[in-house]
Subunit: 381 residues, 2 copies
């Protein structure tokens, strides 16, 4: 039903020893090199950052949340502003999720029907109703470059029957989303199936056969163990059409990204670098460090001596420690900038490793010195 040719995705390099590939997403607001990490701008702002800083860090696409923007400021207001790009003054690409993940996270505040989901606003308790058609209409009003199908995201753990029911509804809703879609925005489908390989295989097959220009793996960042995420991704990603971009929703940690890239995933989003930053955790080549820790009180050198970001070039760990203790806005700002710089450099290293044919070597070296955290990302945004 789309009125213009599908999104153009060009694969420019493939890894010989894995499913990894480098590509270029040709989108209305500029090209995006993949594998790509998309920072999360829940309410139309990547928390603590300006759009100028995101540009300086060379982000070409950010994610915004339909659920949040629908409630505030409202998709109709955004449409009157001329769309989300103009409203937030971000002239590069935007991906909006469908609201499904947030609405299903509301737990006590929502009721699921075959037709859609009734939910109550976390802001004022008002009642709302999202159907696949409504989720698409809201995303049309927001006007992002990539929009997502409205899916049912089951909790973890889910029984096999629960997972199957959610998957089947996701499939019926995927068809309805496609039928409701009539703009030039690229609408991505979402594979569900929880941790069950036969369901993931069935969902991958069903969604792949529909006319989506890109496909996401959903429901994998909802509380599983790391090994479980890795297993599901390793199983599912290679089942998706090789010529379409693959997007792993809500992931993740650098080691998760490395693993998923090797499985052929092209796109990632996660609140991790920004949320961690506001909780005083900064990413380094060796793993996370917590700047509130007393060991930084008199560390007058940079947080990460190996980092060439403007924060580490100018400010000391002791100053950041002080700013976090004093609850200063600058703490969140500097830590967020540093963490996003870390992710951008990391993704660039991954792309180069794929192009140069040494992804496995890069991954081995990276994981040798990097200690992944087992703690979950703190909830907050």
């Amino acid at each position: 039903m789309s009125t213009v040719p599908d999104l153009q995705f060009e694969i420019v390099a493939r890894d010989a020893c894995s499913h990894a590939r480098c590509g270029i997403l040709h989108l209305p607001h500029g090209d995006v090199e993949t594998p790509v990490f998309m920072p999360v701008g829940t309410q139309g702002t990547v928390k603590a950052m300006t759009q100028e800083e995101l540009e300086a860090l060379d982000f070409r696409i950010i994610l915004c949340n339909t659920y949040h923007l629908y409630l505030r400021p409202g998709h109709e207001r955004v449409a009157r502003a001329g769309g989300l790009h103009r409203f937030i003054a971000w002239h590069r690409n935007i991906l909006t999720d469908s609201g499904g993940f947030q609405v299903f996270s509301l737990q006590a505040l929502r009721r699921v029907y075959e037709d859609g989901v009734e939910f109550r606003s976390h802001l004022d308790g008002s009642t709302h109703y999202f159907t696949p058609e409504r989720a698409i209409a809201v995303q049309h009003a927001l006007g992002a470059d990539i929009i997502m199908a409205f899916d049912e995201c089951p909790p973890n753990p889910s029984s096999y029957e629960q997972a199957r029911a959610a998957m089947e509804r996701t499939h019926r809703w995927a068809v309805r989303c496609l039928q409701a879609h009539d703009t030039a925005q690229a609408l991505f489908g979402i594979v569900q199936g929880s941790v069950y390989e036969d369901l993931r295989a069935e969902s991958a097959r069903f969604i792949s056969e529909l006319d989506f220009p890109g496909i996401a793996i959903g429901g994998v960042a909802v509380g599983e163990e790391k090994a479980e995420i890795h297993r599901v991704v390793a199983f599912t990603a290679p089942l998706l059409p090789v010529e379409k971009p693959r997007y792993l929703m809500g992931v993740g940690e650098p080691d998760d990204i490395l693993q998923a890239v090797a499985c052929g995933v092209d796109m990632f989003d996660c609140v991790l670098p920004t949320r961690l930053a506001r909780n005083a955790a900064m990413m380094t080549r060796r793993g996370r460090v917590n700047l509130r820790n007393a060991r930084f009180a008199e560390e007058f050198g940079p947080v990460d001596p190996e980092c060439d970001c403007p924060v580490c070039q100018r400010y000391s760990a002791a100053y950041l420690h002080h700013l976090f203790k004093a609850k200063e806005i600058l703490a969140a700002r500097l830590a967020t900038f540093h963490n996003l710089y870390f992710y951008q450099r990391f993704m660039a290293q991954i792309r180069r490793a794929i192009r140069e044919g040494n992804l496995e070597q890069f991954r081995g070296e990276f994981l040798q010195s990097y200690t992944p955290e087992q703690e979950p990302v703190p909830r907050e945004e």
Copy 2:
């Protein structure tokens, strides 16, 4: 007792119709053109700003608070970092207050003796004791370019007897501060005397006769009516030595600054632009506007169409309204940047008007369109 020549203050232009003048403060971390507005970096950061942004806005001097930095991170830690400039990575000038104003503001938490003031930390309730010698020693450790004498700042209203006692103690303490001072930092004296003209005259005479390279008017931003502040400044400033820089502490609003400049004041500091910004108030040529106001919800143009700051050039009032409603850090960031830009442009306009001999005309034009607020600055930092 200072080990190097006094601070150099060069007067480069005088207004014919008032006491106003343009000058250059030659300080260790660069020249500062006066009249100058110093943004307040209470805890070693101008709230919501980076040091890079302050440089981009061409601020040459900021104020930091001795009381706050003494308590956290501690002046000794700052000294071990190599001083405040290195600790906060600000390579331009810094002025520290003496802690007197904050300590006297603690009201229930302090006890005043002839020797000094005992007070309890607002952070942890611990007991501390500041004498003039101690306040100077702490400021030596911080290492600012300009430091302030430890004074007794009486509340408003104060009885004549209260005001006289505080002034006399301020004078005795001023002598002790000078005796304790043995670094190349420029130590400024402070004139007190509350709203009483004979006390202000006596204090101006006493402080002017001491060997201070600069003189501040203290105790004028402690709750008086605007007209009262104007009267005290108009009376006191011309009594100070014409060759020394004059600093009006804690003021103020644009109209207050204009009035004080005409009385011959050279230096200002105030939390107004930064604190207002965090409370959604943005300064415009017509007065303050509150971005939380519903009238901005669909104002898709800039906050101030006459403003050429990067915020007004890129972001809409509707977006700022949304960011404030959503309590996003970016709201405080953009509003703070805009307000500080407003102050810098305003001070540059004042300096140009003095140089070009039309300060009265500029003042008249400015006050014709600018509506000063009568509301006090919200307390918070």
